[in-house]
């Protein structure tokens, strides 16, 4: 029995409808969010002018946060003296052909140094848990904290480990 052309088309359409969307490659979600967080740091890096003192940078950061703007990493910077912001993004080298998207593969260069502490470069990694959360911060069910002005969320476990 030979199917008439419309039946062939219907059969094809039905067969195609059985195809599920293809699984996104492992790491796509991580790479997207990593790139977003790296971009969030860009304004911070732009503020890190050599001529401006750390105290002044932190004051600016707090001002921005108080107005409800700025990346969440700034809150951590303001609360911990600056180094913590570097812990917001971890960069992992993923080899080509691993299925990971481009940004995840190519983000192997170190992130820009955002703040300097006492004339030294801030460490690449976030420091160990730093004790109680900054005064005034409140828990959120996200596992994060909310800043004293109630308008900015900090998503950094180190700040929250009391």
């Amino acid at each position: 029995v030979t199917a008439r052309p419309p039946d062939v088309h219907a059969a094809l359409a039905a067969a195609l409808c059985e195809l599920e969307p293809f699984d996104a490659p492992a790491g796509l979600q991580v790479s997207v969010m990593r790139a977003i967080r790296a971009e969030q740091l860009a304004p911070v890096a732009a503020e890190a002018e050599p001529s401006v003192s750390l105290r002044e940078r932190l004051r600016r950061a707090r001002e921005r946060l108080a107005s409800g703007h700025g990346p969440p990493g700034l809150v951590a910077a303001a609360a911990t003296g600056g180094a913590m912001v570097l812990g917001m993004v971890s960069v992992t080298a993923i080899p080509p052909g691993s299925g990971a998207p481009q940004a995840a593969r190519t983000q192997t260069a170190p992130l820009p140094r955002v703040f300097t502490l006492g004339g030294r470069e801030a460490p690449d990694r976030a420091p160990a848990p730093m004790g109680p959360a900054a005064p005034g911060f409140r828990w959120l069910p996200t596992g994060s904290a909310i800043s004293p002005n109630g308008r900015t969320i900090v998503r950094n476990r180190n700040l929250l480990d009391a």
Binding site: L16, P21, A24, Q29, M33, R138, P141, G143
Partner: protein, 205 residues
């Protein structure tokens, strides 16, 4: 604003076990939020978790859409990533005039097309492309699936993306027309021709 208000209402200073429970509650909160609400939180509060939920929700479908344009899985993954990043950057410009998913589709498709144009891969396919072959050890259903996927890859871009959007992503004709920027009748014609081309490639099914 609504997210934080609700979250603050639930969250208090709690111990570790309470924090775990609260975290689970928060995750449920984001999972259950509508696309429009998640997008609003992302736009108004730079809420990465809200946007991440959209990524989780749609990454596979956007990847499939990109695959419908690019053909190469690696290129499709890059296009999907670029599309999602572009959507994050443009979050403040989302006006809610279309569904969030369709907006994401539009951006991802544009990135995928940019990708193939940028790499000079937008080459019209040979109309007499060889029919693909299936593996001997496959079941009949698996073989059909493999054949279909291979045959899809051999379609010209505009036919392939129409077929992917209509049959795999199950988007309505009107939405495909909006995303691709062509009239609905053109979409219908592309689908008809895609089916005819597939039928030829698959030897009449």
């Amino acid at each position: 604003m609504a997210s934080n208000a609700a979250a603050v209402g639930v969250g208090t200073a709690v111990d570790e076990r309470g924090a775990d429970a609260a975290r689970r509650e928060s995750e449920r909160f984001y999972r259950q939020a509508s696309d429009a609400v998640l997008m609003r939180w992302a736009a108004e509060r730079d809420d990465e978790m809200a946007f991440e939920q959209l990524v989780v929700r749609y990454q596979s479908r956007l990847y499939t859409l990109a695959l419908g344009v690019c053909r190469s899985p690696q290129e499709a993954a890059d296009a999907a990533q670029e599309g999602l990043l572009a959507a994050w950057r443009a979050r403040a410009s989302f006006r809610g005039e279309s569904a969030v998913y369709h907006w994401l589709c539009k951006i991802t498709r544009r990135k995928a097309i940019d990708s193939i144009r940028g790499r000079e891969r937008a080459v019209a396919l040979d109309e007499e492309a060889e029919a693909p072959s299936g593996g001997d050890d496959h079941t009949a259903a698996t073989t059909l699936r493999v054949d279909l996927v291979d045959a899809l890859r051999l379609l010209p871009t505009e036919f392939r993306e129409a077929a992917v959007m209509a049959y795999i992503l199950k988007l309505p004709i009107s939405q495909i027309a909006e995303i691709t920027g062509v009239p609905e009748n053109t979409v219908k014609t592309r689908l008809f021709r895609a089916r005819a081309r597939l039928a030829a490639l698959l030897g009449g099914v």
